[in-house]
Symmetry: C2
Subunit: 137 residues, 2 copies
DNA sequence: TATTGTTATACTCTATAACTATA
DNA sequence: TATAGTTATAGAGTATAACAATA
């Protein structure tokens, strides 16, 4: 690879990271408004349907041991509750009525604060999705 | 925002994070081959010209206190050395001859392992750069 | 007074291993 | 034996505050 392509690649990667970092920071700012950390917020948004703690861990791409504390905190806040599953080893996490309200509020705020959505036209968003899919293939 | 746009936005952001995470993981894998952490590797790549530790911290977007240990480790490895600056408060970090060789090796490997470069045509890379710039504007 | 590099320290995030209760 | 959730703990990575040397 010639040096110019190397530099082009570096610049492109740098911009990619910048966009991802900004999107992450935007998300963190928005969810902080309702008193949640990013991981707590992702959990609340995920719990449209009740979910076993194990499968939540898979969704969050973290170890299962971390979900215990996460669930503890959201339970303290009155947003989720542990309910037994059919398999009695399993505990399902389910939003409380208060959690359901928070989730709706959160979804609105996240959508409103989303840079990716706001700054591109529909055609551009489609273009970006296509390019990103190609990178993930 | 209607629910469909909200979901489209969520899916787009998710793909963006996935691509960024994969690029980060690729970089970490490649630089691990030469025995460096990502931060150490970014430092070596940055030091084409000698750099004050303070300005290195700004480039790495981390606190200056972290650069001390980073420099210590790279010095142990024989890749960089501290040299006094004109302002005698300042220490410049400079690559040793061994560090210069490592930097060239590293640049080749990073370029070869770059998903962003490999999977897109020149036209697509330009398209992606344009979209990312629009998001950063 | 302000700034550079340093040190000590603490906080967050995440992972590993051992434990229990079920299966 | 294997799996779900829990607990204790350890390792990165990063930040803050105080310090000495210098501006």
């Amino acid at each position: 690879m010639p040096p110019s392509r190397l530099e082009e690649s570096r610049a492109l990667s740098a911009r990619l990271f910048q966009v991802a970092e900004r999107a992450k920071a935007d998300f963190a700012d928005v969810v902080a408004e309702v008193g949640l950390t990013p991981l707590q917020a992702r959990t609340v948004l995920w719990l449209q349907e009740p979910s076993a703690m194990r499968s939540l861990a898979r969704h969050l791409a973290c170890d299962a041991s971390n979900v215990t504390g996460l669930a503890d905190r959201l339970e303290e806040l009155g947003m989720v509750e542990r309910t037994p599953g059919d398999d009695r080893r399993v505990k399902l996490l389910r939003l409380t009525p208060r959690g359901v309200k928070l989730r709706a509020d959160l979804a609105d705020r996240v959508a409103a604060g989303s840079t990716v959505t706001a700054k591109l036209t529909a055609a551009e968003r489609k273009q970006l999705a296509t390019l990103l899919d190609k990178l993930l293939a």
